[in-house]
Each structure stands twice: as C-alpha cells, then as structure tokens.
C-alpha cells in the first residue's frame, strides 16, 4: 500500500531499475503487438536507457526493445 511502490507508467522508470508489468492500455492492435513481444501483466521489464525525452530501451523476455515514449506511457508497471 505504500505510495512509493504504486503503479507508474513505464516511461518514468529510471535506468537500471526492474519492474513488473501491471497493465497495458491502448487500441487492440497496439496491445496485441506489445503482448506478442512479452509486454503482458506479470512479466518483468528492465529499463536499459531512458533520458527522460525521446524513445527508450527496455529489456523484456531477454530482448531489447526500443519503445516510443508514447507507447511506454501506456504500460503501467510496479517497481521492484
């Protein structure tokens, strides 16, 4: 219940941190593409590169995926 561990959008996860995916929102096509690559509730993600602006890089299912910031914002994660 602590507020510092509540769900946050993936784009605000700092570099080097790990998180568990809580939910993925967006249109059917986008959610489907993300699910295919492993962005599914319960899966782990590592933030590899995130400069606060522009696209970012995460590690999911042992694969590096580059995501636009807009796409990353649609993925809710819980740190830890």
């Amino acid at each position: 219940m602590s507020t510092d561990n509540g769900p946050i959008p993936l784009d605000s996860l700092p570099v080097g941190r790990q998180a568990t995916i809580e939910a993925v929102s967006g249109g059917h096509g986008l959610v489907n593409r993300l699910a295919t690559l492993g962005f599914i509730p319960g899966q782990r993600v590592d933030m590899v590169q995130n400069f606060g602006v522009g696209p970012l890089i995460v590690n999911v299912q042992n694969t590096r995926i580059a995501l636009g910031r807009g796409e990353a914002r649609k993925i809710l994660v819980r740190e830890g």
Partner: protein, 681 residues
C-alpha cells in the same frame, strides 16, 4: 506396434492424419517460418543458393521467396514465409504466413528461433504448433547467445516441447544440414511427434471449451476448429468476420456474447503462450550471472546513445559516401566512357541505316536505358551497405537514434535509412523501405523518397549551377539541397496530417544483438536487387526511354519541331508561372528518362555544339530568376523512369501515378514561389 501407432495418432490429434507420409522421391514442401532477426534468410540462402525465385504473394506487395534443392534423394521446395512476430491479423505478412500453412499444408514447417532471444522467438512457435503441419525447430545463433553469456541446452528444450530441436549457427553454415536431416526424418515417419501445446490461461479454459462446442461443425474447411476458437478469443478481425458469415445467427449471437464478456481474451491467450514458453525454457536455459555484461550492452552504450550514437551515425554515413565516391563513381565514369565509345561505334555501323534508326539506338536506347545502367556500381555499393548495416544489427540503432527527428514527419526511425540511401539513388531508397514494418509509414516513405536529391540530380546541379551563378554556385547548390529536404519535411508533415491519416505509427522496434554479418546473405541481397534493377532497365526503362526519344525525334526535322517541343510549348503557360520557357520545360520532360538528359537536351535546344559551349550560351539567354526557378523545379520534379518503376512495383499503380502528379505540381509550385521571390528581389 500397430497399437502404439494408433495411440500416437490419437494423441497428436487427427490433424496430422490428413496428409499421408509421402513416398520417397516426390517433392516435399517445407515452409520456413521465424520472427525477424532470427537468421531465417541466412538459412534460406544456405539451402537454396542461387536456386531461388523471388516474386510477390498473389495480390500483395509482400515479397515471396521460394527455392528448391535436393537432400537425401528427395526434392525439396522451400517457401520462405514473411518474418513476423506472431500470426495475428494485424498485417498482410501475418495473414499470408498462417494462410499458407493452413491452406497449402506444407509437409513440414521449419521454425527458426534465436537462442539469444529464446523466450520471445518461441512465441511464434507457440502459434505454429496448433496449425496443421508438423514443426521442426532450428535453434539458431547459439554463438551470439554465448557472446551474451546465455546458455541454452537443445536436448532439454527438445524434451520439453517434444518436437525436434536442432542447434545451429546458420551464418557459419553449422547445423543447417542437421536441421534438414531432422526434417527428412519427420517426413519419413511422424511416429512420436506429439508436441506439447500451449494452452489458454487457466481461468479461460472452460469458456474456451464452450466456444469450441458452439462453433463445432460450422468452421469452414480447412481451418482447424481449436485454432479458430483461439483466434476468436484474440479478437482476430479476419477470423471473426469469417465465423460471423458461417455461423447461424443464433449461434453467432451466443459466440458474440461470450466474446463480449471476455474482452481480455487476447491477453489470456498471449499469457497462456508465455506461460508455456516459461515452462519450456525453465530447465533449458541458464541466464548470465549478475554483473556479466554482454557485447551488445557495451556497444549500445555508445551506438544507441542520443549524442554519441548520432556522432557514430554521421561517421557511418560519411564512410558510405566515401565508399561511393572512391569505389563506385570511378567505375560509373568508366562505364559512361565505354557507353560513349559504344554509341560512336554503333553510329558508325549504322551509318548507312536510316537516320531515325541510328538515333533510336544511340540516343533512345543507349542515351536513356544505357545511362541508367551506368548507375549500377552506385546501386551495388548502396545495396551492400544496406545489407551490411541490417545484418550486423546496426540498422536498428540508426533508426533508434534518428527516431526523435523522424517523428516530426509522422515517420519513425525505420524510415531514416531508406531515405538516406536516396542521396545515392532513389531506386534503393524505395526498395529499402521494405525494412519498415508499418504499411502506412512505408507508403509515406516511398512517396517522400523521390524528394531526396539523388546523385544524378546533383550531377545536373553541379553542371548548371556554375553556368548560371558562377562564384555563387556552391551557395546556390547548398541552398537547393536544403530546399529539397525542407520540401520533403513539409510534404511529409502535410501528408501525415491530412492525407494518410490514421492511427499514429507506434514505435516498437526490436534491437537485435550485434553479430558478424554473413557474406552470402549480403551477396545474395546485392545480386537479387541488382538483377531486378537490370531486368527493369531492359524492359520498362528501355520502353519508356524509347517513348521519350520518339517524342523528341518525330516528326522532325529536329527537336525544336518535335512532339516533345509541342508538349513543352503547350506546358509553357504553366511553366511561365515559374518563369520557365518552353526549352526549359522540354529539358524537364526529357530528364524523366534519366536526369542527365536535361543537359544534353538543353545543349540541343540552345544549339550549342557541346556541353562546354552550353554554359555561357544558356547563361546569356535565361534570366537569373528563371534559372533559379528552373534548378528548383529540376530538383523536385518527377523522378526518373527507374524510380517510377520501383514505386509502381513496391506500392502499385495508384500510388505511382499519385506520386508523379504531386511531384509535378509541388515542383512547379515551389519553383513558382522561388521565381516570384527572385524576380521581386
């Protein structure tokens, strides 16, 4: 023995019984499936070599590659399915891949997976296993996995999935034979083929069974019932439409109610697949110890960095230009020289033939299609560079680094490299758009590619700018290139916001692990693309060159009185808006055959003895404002035939004609604006 066979058959479900085990000697069809970046193309090239047929899937602009070879006394037909991450209905590629397996029933599906991205690349396997064809898995890139400190045990993986798993390093031709040995074994006997199939997430199993019983007996052949039920759950548009058609309305209503009540069905199906993947890989895979940093991570700290990465990209692009100028340009100059020699000797040979025939051969065929062919060395360098950058994994980093800039035009990073290739020649630029995964972004990139100033247009500019503007030529040239790119950006923004509206292109891109490129993969890419270009040069481009030649030769006696001059005069009122006289309009039209033709045409129209005397002559008779406007229009005008031909091939007639029309209009509008400003100044 017969008893065990029966048991095998019931357990593998009835679907495998439909295709009997083939007799040795007949042609065996193998479909090659795999996600992008698993080395599928390398496997295809290893097995088929030059014995390939490249075309399009019927009615689609998706490339279809097929090849044949003989193995263990059997003839094999290997069909390369499009590389896709899944088999949903989100793209034509995915629909092609699954329809091929379902309707054409290949004897075996070979699924290539990447040992270094094992979990994700198994996702496609999870989709392939429920389809009606047995699967053999090629566990590729075990060397890349090792370089990233990942260890995968193929035997354990095989025991878990219960389909043959063959470890391989396709780029070093290791394991490819063994892979097809496993295919061969499976073709001879399917005994024991009992794959461990993924299931939907536990909380949806009961409702899936309900759905299956509802559609029982109404699934159109040859679609497997269980698979159709899963696709309904996933919200697959194609399958949903199909079942709405074939189910009686009361049953459809029941199905529809279930689907509405379970709108999270897609997540349940995908989760089920990833649960299966987790179970399959748990024992087979050893992750690197904490703190071990792989090669890719180390390289990406620089190559994917927003600042350093941009610097590296500039160096790479610089190297590409350097290669073009030191390697390709001299060969092109040499080809041009021989083309001139050939023209002279042909003219001498045809001295007694009618003059129109001589002109047809020398000016029409050699001057048009011949000139286009001298661009082959530049094309080869660009195709090779494209193949190299793609095959090492760097292309995705270039796309990532450029993404923020490309977003302004509604494109994403993937469009950058193809557009950049346009500086050499627009042909590889248009063909290079195949790396773009979204159809809409690809179409937009194709439409924009002809606005990149290619080396032929730069050549015309390099000749005419000093003729018109002397000392200021460098400044003018720089301004014209900048104006071209600015026009490209503005047109991109306009098309993106008002013409090709739709869902914003999502930027989701895999960054594959770096690996050494394969010579064969790059070599075949260069060979196929160059061959395709030469075939076009020998057909479409020759025909178009001859047409333009005929228009400028007939009815005679000279080009001043030709049809093209008449067209030029007809277009003069339009040209006058940009300060262009009919001679300049004719030069623009002639440059459609090949951009260099602009210079030759101007020297004929102005009665110059040759290119040398053209410069002072044209400078005297064309006012500065018109000259400026002409150069602008020349830079932005309708591209050469070779480019038009590839645009048609990649995007279809409709878009090719639309492209011609809008470039014609845009070039004259921008030219007109520049003319107005220049005359006013």
């Amino acid at each position: 023995m017969p008893i065990s066979t029966v048991v095998v058959k019931t357990e593998t479900s009835a679907r495998l019984d439909a295709t009997p085990v083939p007799e040795v000697g007949r042609t065996i069809t193998v479909a090659l499936a795999g996600q992008p970046n698993v080395g599928k193309t390398t496997v295809f090239n290893m097995m088929t070599g030059l014995n390939q047929h490249v075309g399009n899937w019927p009615g689609k602009t998706v490339e279809r590659k097929e090849g044949t070879f003989v193995f263990n006394g059997n003839r094999y037909r290997l069909v390369d399915l499009p590389g896709t991450y899944s088999l949903s209905a989100n793209s034509p590629e995915e629909i092609i891949a699954r329809d091929f397996i379902i309707t054409e029933r290949p004897d075996v599906v070979v699924a290539i997976i990447n040992a270094a991205s094992l979990e994700r690349t198994l996702y496609l396997v999870a989709e392939l296993l429920p389809l009606p064809a047995p699967v053999v898995i090629g566990l590729n890139m075990v060397d890349v996995a090792e370089q990233e400190h990942l260890e995968v045990n193929p035997e354990v993986l095989e025991a878990a999935i219960r389909v043959p798993v063959v470890p391989m390093i396709a780029s070093k031709n290791k394991g490819v034979r063994e892979l097809f040995q496993a295919v061969d074994d499976l073709v001879r006997s399917r005994e024991g083929y009992r794959p461990n199939l993924p299931e939907i997430r536990a909380d949806h199993r009961a409702v899936l069974a309900e759905l299956e019983s509802l559609i029982e007996g109404f699934v159109p052949s040859p679609y497997p019932r269980d698979w159709v039920a899963l696709k309904l759950f996933e919200g697959d548009q194609v399958i949903t439409d199909m079942m709405r058609q074939s189910l009686p309305s009361d049953r459809w209503a029941a199905v529809h109610d279930i689907l509405l009540a379970h709108d999270d069905g897609m997540m349940a199906v995908a989760s089920g697949r990833y649960e299966w993947i987790g179970r399959m890989t748990r024992a087979a895979m050893k992750h690197p110890a904490v703190g071990q940093i792989g090669l890719t991570e180390r390289l990406d700290r620089i190559l994917a960095h927003p600042v350093w990465g941009l610097g590296v990209l500039l160096l790479v692009l610089g190297a590409l230009f350097w290669l073009t100028y030191t390697l390709a340009a001299p060969i092109q100059a040499w080809l041009e020289y021989w083309l001139g020699q050939l023209g002279e000797s042909l003219a001498a040979m045809l001295a007694s033939a009618p003059p129109w025939l001589q002109s047809l051969v020398v000016d029409g065929v050699l001057g048009g299609a011949g000139t286009v062919i001298t661009f082959v060395p530049i094309l080869v360098v660009f195709f090779a560079a494209m193949g190299f950058l793609e095959d090492t994994g760097y292309m995705a980093r270039a796309a990532y680094v450029m993404d923020r800039f490309m977003h302004l035009m509604g494109l994403h990073g993937r469009s950058f490299m193809p557009l950049f290739l346009g500086f050499g020649c627009n042909v590889p630029a248009v063909m290079g758009t195949r790396v773009i995964d979204s159809h809409r972004a690809r179409l937009l990139t194709i439409m924009l590619a002809p606005l990149v100033p290619c080396s032929a247009r730069m050549g015309v500019l390099a000749f005419l700018a000093p003729a018109f503007f002397g000392q200021a030529a460098a400044f003018v040239s720089w301004g014209l290139v900048a104006l071209s790119l600015l026009t490209l950006a503005v047109v991109g923004i306009v098309i993106n916001h008002w013409v090709l509206r739709g869902e914003r292109v999502a930027f989701i891109m895999e960054l594959p692990l770096y690996h050494l490129p394969n010579k064969r993969t790059i070599g075949l890419l260069v060979w196929q693309n160059t061959l395709a270009f030469l075939q076009r040069a020998a057909t479409v481009i020759v025909a178009a060159s001859v047409l333009i030649w005929a228009l400028s030769y007939f009815p005679g006696p000279d080009i001043q009185h030709s049809y093209v001059a008449a067209i030029g005069q007809m277009l003069e009122p339009i040209g006058r808006l940009a300060g262009l006289n009919w001679q300049l309009m004719v030069a623009l039209l002639a440059s459609i055959a090949a951009k260099e033709n602009a210079i030759a045409t101007l020297s004929v129209l102005y009665g110059a003895g040759g290119a040398e005397s053209l410069a002072p002559m044209i400078a005297r008779s064309v006012p500065a404002a018109s000259a400026m406007a002409y150069l602008v229009v020349q830079m932005l005008f309708v591209p050469c035939i070779a480019t038009v031909a590839v645009v048609r091939q990649e995007a279809g007639w409709k878009w090719a004609l639309l492209n011609l029309a809008f470039l014609f209009i845009i070039s004259l509008v921008v030219g007109g604006l520049v003319y107005a400003v220049a005359s006013w100044v």
